[in-house]
């Protein structure tokens, strides 16, 4: 056994969400996985960091190059992914009590990601909280709550005809709209235009649907994609509560990536973090496997397949990749601010309450609600605001033209988490502000009016701490799959969309898992027969190649451990 110590089926470089999901699935399928990361922390570009780690993260990517004697290829790649980084010089106290996400996300309650969380058992490792509020901002009306359900629409102050139009739209959006007359020929029409022309909805409602319910990023987002998202969110509402979205504890996706890594470890995956990969030699005529040499590590690791985050791949292997000819790059200006006051939302009025169930049309009884539920529309006074319940986990949408000096086509979002998700100490809040930008635009100038608005909504003049940066995300523009020869599978970049990133990561991991399993079946039948020989009694690879491997086999009843079988 000991001579097999360094032999694996798969070596995975990077512990980002996609790599971690793939590691868990491959380990569960019985493959030997070695999972490595250059960083001392889990999660890669989806990591959750303490404040001091975040400060170091920012410094490593912004310190002038001449100050480095030697710089790793990982850091070189990271410095092109994250640019224009600035941060407050002083890190506040209790830095370790923060858990800041590099990829803030809302997890839809129905979708492939949540299914994977449950099917893999990762859901039992961590906690989740419902998104409490979605707010929409306009310069004229300030911050308003966005109704959370159909029931809320009935209770709202809209005119009867508007309600009917809106209900007609909801019926359309939750149904099989793909084959509907309304959509024919308008799949690629900008969504706001579609809503106005086909459903005659007033601007204010269009804004709420397009930006705060469907989370479109600009006025140009196309109808079909937005409608598909919207239908998914409608299906998500009510599964765990009124909100369609969950927010993971301790910073979300980074913590979840650690959960998937634990599943891999529990199934035999070997974890080596914070070790520099000195070199990886590809399979050749003399050796049929990748051989990885790690710094300060006794023996090399070998494997037939390599999975890597693009920035963790050693330089020597880069030329082997068939680079996609054209890549589209999208840029997202981001700012993470720590504030010591909650954002003040208007109280949830009984007429537009978020507290009702989707099917509960009855007025919310005051007995079940505290201060917020009892106030009526006419008492929206400062005193009511002061008594309004503190909102811990929320997202505020700034549609185009909603803030003076802000963008007229792009949407900014301010996602806030607090002690309720254990991402900040009691009384402190982490606000993630983001807005898509174009190359050449000044991120700081673009961000400023939104930041100032957020701070004024929380009645703070200055944040305790602030990190601002621009994230570059490049996608191959052609959809033709790249040929992976030698077997290096590079994981794709994740879209910066707050509510899409988790499902996208899951789909990417699933496709990766299937490709790797197919490859191992075809190229390394012994790995395959070794795994299955106990059940199937041996045989040749071709027979076994027909067997489908599920991404998540049924969970065993681990909790019954202790009984004799």
């Amino acid at each position: 056994m000991s001579d097999l110590e360094g032999n694996f089926d798969v070596i995975i470089l990077g512990t980002g969400l996609v790599e971690s999901i793939a590691a868990a699935a491959l380990s569960k399928a019985g493959f030997k996985v070695a999972h490595l990361d250059n960083n001392s922390y889990y999660g890669g570009d989806e990591a959750n960091l303490t404040l001091d780690e975040l400060a170091r993260w920012a410094d490593n990517r912004s310190t002038p190059l001449e100050k480095y004697e030697k710089i790793s290829s990982y850091l070189v790649a990271q410095r092109t992914k994250f640019t224009s980084i600035t941060r407050s010089s002083a890190v506040p106290d209790h830095a370790r009590h923060y858990s800041i996400s590099l990829a803030p996300s809302l997890i839809p309650s129905v979708g492939p990601f949540i299914s994977s969380l449950i099917a893999s058992g990762v859901s039992r490792y961590g906690g989740y909280r419902l998104l409490e509020r979605v707010g929409i901002y306009s310069s004229s009306k300030g911050l308003q709550n966005v109704p959370g359900s159909k029931g809320d629409i009935f209770k709202s102050t809209l005119s009867l005809i508007e309600k009917r139009r809106l209900m007609r739209f909801f019926k359309f959006a939750t149904g099989k709209f793909e084959s509907s007359n309304e959509l024919q020929g308008h799949e690629q029409t900008p969504f706001p235009e579609f809503l106005q022309s086909k459903f005659s909805l007033p601007q204010e409602i269009v804004d709420a649907i397009v930006y705060a319910l469907a989370f479109c990023a600009s006025t140009a987002d196309v109808t079909l994609h937005a409608l598909t998202r919207l239908r998914n969110y409608f299906q998500s509402a009510g599964r765990y509560g009124a909100s369609p979205f969950l927010v993971g504890h301790y910073g979300g996706l980074g913590e979840i990536a650690q959960g998937f890594c634990r599943v891999s470890a529990v199934n035999g995956g070997v974890y080596i973090l914070d070790k520099k990969t000195e070199d990886i030699t590809p399979p050749s005529t003399s050796a049929d496997k990748f051989v990885a040499h790690l710094a300060d590590f006794p023996s090399p690791l070998t494997a037939g397949v390599l999975i890597a985050a693009d920035d963790q791949l050693p330089e020597s292997l880069q030329p082997l990749l068939t680079k996609a000819q054209n890549t589209d790059e999208s840029l997202m200006a981001r700012c993470i601010a720590i504030i010591d006051q909650p954002i003040l939302f208007p109280p949830v009025l009984s007429s537009e309450g978020l507290s009702g169930d989707g099917v509960n049309f009855a007025p919310v009884s005051s007995g079940e609600e505290d201060a917020g539920g009892q106030s009526s529309a006419s008492t929206r006074l400062a005193s009511a605001l002061a008594e309004a319940p503190l909102v811990d986990t929320s997202i505020i949408i700034f549609p185009p033209c909603s803030v003076e000096g802000g963008s007229s086509i792009k949407v900014a979002q301010a996602f806030t988490t607090g002690a309720g998700t254990f991402s900040a100490p009691e009384g402190k809040y982490v606000v993630y502000v983001s807005i898509p930008i174009k190359d050449g635009e000044d991120p700081e100038a673009l961000m400023e009016p939104y930041l100032n608005t957020v701070f004024s909504l929380a009645s703070v003049s200055e944040p305790l701490f602030k990190v601002a940066y621009v994230q570059h995300i490049s996608f191959p523009s052609s959809s033709t799959p790249t040929i992976d020869l030698p077997p290096i599978f590079v994981t794709p970049a994740l879209p910066p969309h707050v509510a899409e990133i988790s499902d996208y990561a899951n789909s990417a991991a699933e496709s990766l898992f299937n490709r790797v399993v197919d490859h191992l079946k075809a190229k390394i039948p012994q790995a395959w027969t070794r795994e299955r020989s106990g059940e199937e009694g041996g045989g040749d690879g071709d027979v076994f190649a027909e067997i489908m491997v599920p991404m998540w086999p049924p969970l065993g009843d681990e909790e019954e451990a202790g009984e004799d079988e």
Partner: protein, 310 residues
Amino acid sequence: MSAIYVKLGCVESPSPLWAHRRLSLLADFLTSLAHHCIIHRLFYHDLQSPQLPQWQALHLALQTRSVQVKLVLLGEAAVGKSSIVLRFVSKEFQPNKEPTIGAAFLTQKCLLEDRVLRYEIWDTAGQERFHSLAPMYYRNAQAAVVVYDVTKAASLEKAKTWVKELQRQANPNIVIALAGNKIDLVQSSPSGSGSSSAAESEDEADDATATPGEAATSGAEAENLRQVPREEAQAYAQEAGLLFFETSAKTGEGVTEVFTEIAKNIPIESILASSRGAAGRPGTAGIRPGTQESVNLGENQPKSRDACNC
């Protein structure tokens, strides 16, 4: 003596025999309730079984008073972390146990006066081997058992670094127990069958760092194997504010005491208060009444997906 850790992914449907066992287990449990035993084993799943609705009612009744405690194991590879838990949970010992594979966590109920304490025991899953234990591992842990091997001085040093790590990273109220394991190796065997320790020494010896296999020991020879004097470890534990035990997963000596003492030292009232406090916090007003702050993902199946276009 078959594998105790049920490997993820293999499902077995409960046979009538299982159902029978459940009943006898419960009968056992009720007896122990009556006798006010402090600790009794009880499996969460048994009570949750849909086949036994009457027990579900009982379960709910108990659940209202039960406190869930996350307990994490820490320590160098091959000091016997999993073996201690195995002894505690199933009263068993497996010589030549493979390094830990296959258990997400184990649960064990502990009866403490009028309260049920449900331990959720997390094993490192081998992630400590290359210092790659994720912070997620210690999150919300209310208790930790840091294990060292009394026959390996270096393992106590490693234990001390884990204690520091916990004090730096984990919940400030965490109850930490230091356990010096494998004391059967340093005790002269009264029956003269000292060879039993040979089996123990092979325990987990497949790891490169494991104790090399010792021959049968007796008397003074056994004491010679000891590299960590009890007094030294105890003094450190006292200084660092840890509970201290010497244990043998092989014989069971001291194992139950570790978990009982932790149970007595857990600030149960404050755990209960904080969970009550959380549920009643103003921030929950936006969530439908009765919904807890934390969402249990496994609870609700998605609504029918008739809108799916396929």
